[in-house]
Symmetry: C2
Subunit: 276 residues, 2 copies
């Protein structure tokens, strides 16, 4: 969404990972998010459309606009939505979130998923977003927090590899631990009635679909996607990194377990009389 590099890259593999992630987690993350017919909804940082398909499917009749900074991602998103959601009403815009091509108060609702974690100044970003949201409209923000990842069997190597990802993301100006900060971030940006709830993924052998879709195809794939950058940055040796990844795969075995917490925030843009 900004000039800052997207830490996970723009490969075909990464596009597939984002699609797997969104489908496996769709019910968990999107539960409770449905906009009324006729409402104007802006998705910020739609990327390859991994969340857009769920927004469109869950809010038939809403007028969606989706913004991303990457033309290539927008093309993928457009194709994904066309293939998966018939009759979806989505206007696609290539733009930076700090220079949104919309008048003030143009939208009834904003949706922001896995975006703030990549921005060097999420507070400033939320202020820019608030401009295009009508008073009384809502903003929904979903982010993860990589310190919420723990698993059985425990592995110091696996934690170190995740730590490497956190550091790369921080080096790129982001914050892989932003989930826990959503409440103060949205409050400080002037939103009211900020409600944050954890949306926790817990996986064990009794949930084989999540073993595959979340542990392997979402979480491990996310860590694996930064391997070359991590080694180049000297975050880890190749041997330690690969052992960390092997240990993460170990948690997908029959006696393994995995825990990760996403945070979902909903808040209201106050009417001007309520503003501080």
């Amino acid at each position: 969404m900004t000039a800052i590099g997207y830490v996970h890259g723009y490969s075909d593999q990464e596009a597939r990972r984002l699609g797997d992630q969104a489908d496996a987690l769709a019910e968990l993350l999107h539960h409770g998010t449905a906009y009324p017919p006729g409402s104007r909804v802006l998705e910020i940082g739609c990327g390859v459309g991994a969340q857009t398909v769920h927004l469109a499917a869950n809010s038939p009749g809403a007028h969606l606009a989706a913004v991303d900074v990457s033309e290539a991602s927008l093309a993928r998103a457009r194709a994904r939505v066309a293939a998966q959601v018939s009759g979806a009403d989505v206007a696609w815009h290539r733009a930076d979130l700090f220079e949104l091509p919309f008048p003030d108060a143009a939208f009834d609702h904003l949706f922001v998923c896995f975006v703030l974690e990549h921005l060097p100044d999420p507070h400033k970003a939320l202020a820019a977003l608030r401009r295009v949201l009508r008073p009384g409209g809502t903003v929904t923000v979903i982010e993860g927090d990589h310190d919420s990842a723990f698993f059985h069997p425990h592995s110091a190597y696996a934690r170190a590899a995740i730590g490497g990802l956190k550091r790369l993301q921080a080096d790129a100006g982001g914050n892989a631990l932003i989930g826990r900060e959503l409440q103060p971030l949205l409050s400080d940006a002037g939103f009211h009635d900020v409600t944050v709830r954890p949306r926790t993924v817990y996986v064990d052998r009794t949930r084989p679909a999540l073993v595959e879709d979340f542990i392997r195809n979402t979480f491990i794939a996310m860590v694996v996607s930064v391997r070359e950058d991590a080694l180049a940055a000297g975050v880890s040796t190749a041997a330690d990194w690969d052992r960390g990844i092997a240990d993460l795969h170990r948690t997908a075995a029959a006696d393994g377990t995995f825990h990760y917490t996403f945070f979902k925030a909903v808040a209201i843009n106050p009417l001007s009389a309520q503003r501080r």
Copy 2:
């Protein structure tokens, strides 16, 4: 519950902490646990009765038995239940869980909360418990996992203090990270249909009762309770420890947040034909 020391001690303050903890978390932890009238229910490691009062209140008509290794704790538990739950039917027994004074299959249901984390061999303990559970009966286990604790503002000192508590508990033969292991533990002990779900406590300024009851009176109080032992064991310097505690209190301020995950498992003792 065993000869191994209870890491948090037996003081009046600790008894109060356990009561605060149970009340603040009662709905979160006990939701879904109600035994039918006439059923025979055994609580293992009832301690000062912090959970027993909720068991008795939520299962009127059930015949409860509560076991603990400490006579003093049992006296407190008896007084607490008498004061808080009129008409509760609880038989109190001082016993070690490896020498339970009950015949085989004496109970329809077992309830085990914050006990396995203190035992050097939780697998052996579960096997001993299974003996007194009738085939087809259920076991419910609730445990925490201290690696699930994260908070805003982040603090390396606070994490180090929590790490000190984990180490003391490990030195005493326990495991403060046992929550993530409940699925394989119960499966390996021969239980069937093992279902584990996270029960997550998330606290921010919009939940002032939990700021007080969970962050301050439960979690911080738990860490504070081991200060002298931690310093004596050389786990931390006094200055670092106290800074960690101060930083934990900082998470209870208006812009702070706190996250902790408990795990609740329910499983069935198989009929003999189903046993492996």
